[in-house]
């Protein structure tokens, strides 16, 4: 049983404690609350560095100090506070940083409302548990044998075939019916690789449809996309050792993952609205009358400063889009403004919650929209790497990791 230390404020009074526990139980973990002495809470400033007016936050910080002094108390840490609480957000960030710099415990941070359900937390908890439980598998750097990976995403389904550490076939189809799309992507990859399905030694699945597809194809590994994408990203970017940051702007949500030696150390997953996702770029391309594959090149010729665009909400973002075009803005500027707006939200809402360390690797289909990594580079002031096969990252990670289960 994996022990996840919960450091929180407001979970009981928001009525979500049961949901947090349900999410942990669903992935074979148990939430624990490190015991602290009263003096640890009263003197939290001397050990942690700050003291705040809210007692529960001081308790969370005292628990963090206890954890770093006794890292065997837990296998992972879940830090959560109420959404929209400034004091909570500051402490949440500082607790994460404190644990990161004083221990190797994986940390997940989250801000909840009373509407948070166990389903919302499931993928995050699963990733936290995988990181804690399967360090050996995640440390794997080479793919061996003949394996396949399928990434059943919300917008597209991807498949790859790998043989002895090389990608020999790929398949990419829009997600319609989950199983049909998975079959189609896998068949395309098999055909390109000139391999028969029965020759495969193992299949790994990831993405939203991982369980359904995994059962359908008899997968040996069905893994959430945070650990799998991290692995795929550092493999393709040749950054398996040391620190790295993985950014995946998806069709439905975004992931920002701080990685150490190929293993996620801290991550956030979310996005307030589709306005901060690939969906908004799809909409922009449609409105500009260009194919999504052309949007990035168009954006590189434009300047975001020439167009006011804020896609914090997809409805307002669309209004900005329509308004700018009706005022005669150049399509190039509009395309770049859309890329900048999406990148800006990921930068403001998610990258502040993980340690951004070089190399910064952008993955997923959206990373191929050239304006997006460019906008992220400008915001971060750091170079952004988009590795070859970036759109197949989840499938590559799954194919790589499943090969580790075939030995012994």
């Amino acid at each position: 049983m994996i022990r996840i230390a919960q450091l929180s404020c407001g979970a009981e009074y928001s009525g979500v404690q049961r949901e947090l526990e349900k999410a942990a139980e669903a992935v074979g973990a148990r939430l624990i609350f490190p015991e602290v002495a009263l003096d640890d809470v009263l003197n939290v400033e001397s050990r942690f560095g700050i003291e705040v007016p809210s007692g529960d936050l001081n308790l969370a910080m005292a628990r963090a100090t206890r954890l770093v002094e006794n890292p065997d108390l837990a296998d992972a840490v879940f830090v959560c506070t109420c959404f929209r609480c400034a004091e909570g957000a500051i402490v949440r960030g500082e607790v994460r940083r404190f644990i990161h710099s004083h221990s190797r415990l994986p940390v997940l941070t989250y801000s909840f409302t009373e509407r948070t359900t166990s389903d919302t937390l499931l993928t995050r908890m699963e990733a936290l548990v995988t990181t804690a439980k399967m360090k050996g598998l995640l440390a794997r750097e080479k793919q061996t044998g003949l394996t396949a990976g399928i990434d059943s995403g919300s917008t597209t389904t991807k498949a790859v075939i790998m043989r002895d550490n090389e990608i020999i076939g790929t398949g990419w189809v829009p997600t319609t019916e989950v199983l049909k799309s998975a079959d189609a992507a896998l068949e395309a990859a098999l055909s390109e690789a000139k391999v028969k399905r029965e020759e495969l030694e193992g299949i790994g699945t990831t993405g939203y449809g991982r369980f359904l597809v995994g059962k359908h194809v008899n997968a040996r590994l069905m893994q959430e996309e945070i650990t799998v994408n991290s692995k795929g990203a550092v493999f393709l970017a040749d950054a398996q050792r040391g620190a790295a940051t993985v950014i995946d702007i998806g069709g439905m949500d975004n992931k920002a993952i701080s990685v150490q030696d190929g293993i996620p150390g801290g991550f956030t997953m979310g996005g307030i609205c589709a306005g901060a996702s690939g969906r908004f770029l799809e909409l922009t391309a449609r409105r500009l009358g260009v194919n999504i594959t052309e949007l990035g090149k168009l954006a590189l010729k434009g300047f975001h400063e020439n167009v006011t665009m804020n896609s914090y909400c997809i409805v307002f973002g669309t209004q900005s889009l329509v308004n700018s075009l009706s005022k005669g803005s150049r399509p190039e500027d509009v395309a770049m403004a859309a890329c900048h707006s999406v990148a800006e939200q990921v930068f403001e809402q998610q990258l502040q919650e993980v340690e951004v360390k070089q190399p910064v690797i952008m993955v997923g289909g959206t990373s191929l929209i050239e304006g997006l990594p460019k906008a992220m580079e400008n915001l971060l002031g750091l170079p952004v790497i988009v590795p070859r096969y970036a759109q197949y990252i989840g499938a590559v990670g799954a194919a790589l990791l499943v090969s580790g289960l075939l030995e012994g």
Binding site: G10, E12, Y13, G15, Q17, P53, G55, F83, E114
Partner: protein, 145 residues
């Protein structure tokens, strides 16, 4: 006998003083007891469900964090019911604490603007101050009818 809300609303010391003087203390422990003892609810440890922060909307807007609204769903009705208030400021968490400073501020404000008889005292830090503290509370509670 008067219903007296105490602040911090989790303070058992202040609740005990109110009770000894023949009044009814309004404190969180009483509200939590009701919740924990309510059959058919299954949301341990406090049996607070996502419905409670929605009840708190009566006291705080929707953009106020859910933890504050959840706490206010218990503290707010006590303030509504209160006929007098005993408020102690500057105490550390040992005196009683809702865990959230913003909830404390909102609760104090709502008590203040209610216009009921109330006494506001600083938490004592010496023996002499403590004697004066108890004396002032006693005088206030005796004066309530």
């Amino acid at each position: 006998m008067v219903k007296v809300i105490v602040f911090p609303p989790t303070s058992t010391i202040l609740a005990d003083m109110v009770e000894r003087m023949g009044h009814t203390p309004l404190v969180m422990s009483g509200e939590i007891r009701k919740k924990v003892n309510t059959p058919s609810l299954e949301s341990p440890p406090l049996n607070i469900t996502p419905e409670d922060p929605k009840k708190g909307l009566r006291y705080a807007a929707v953009d106020v964090p859910s933890g504050i609204r959840g706490r206010m769903s218990m503290i707010g009705p006590m303030i509504d019911e209160a006929e007098a208030a005993l408020v102690v400021k500057d105490g550390n968490c040992l005196v009683g604490c809702t865990g959230c400073a913003r909830t404390n501020e909102l609760a104090r404000l709502l008590i203040k603007v209610k216009g009921i008889p109330q006494i506001e005292l600083k938490y004592p830090t010496s023996d002499a101050e403590a004697r004066r503290f108890v004396h002032d509370i006693r005088t206030f509670l005796e004066g309530l009818r």
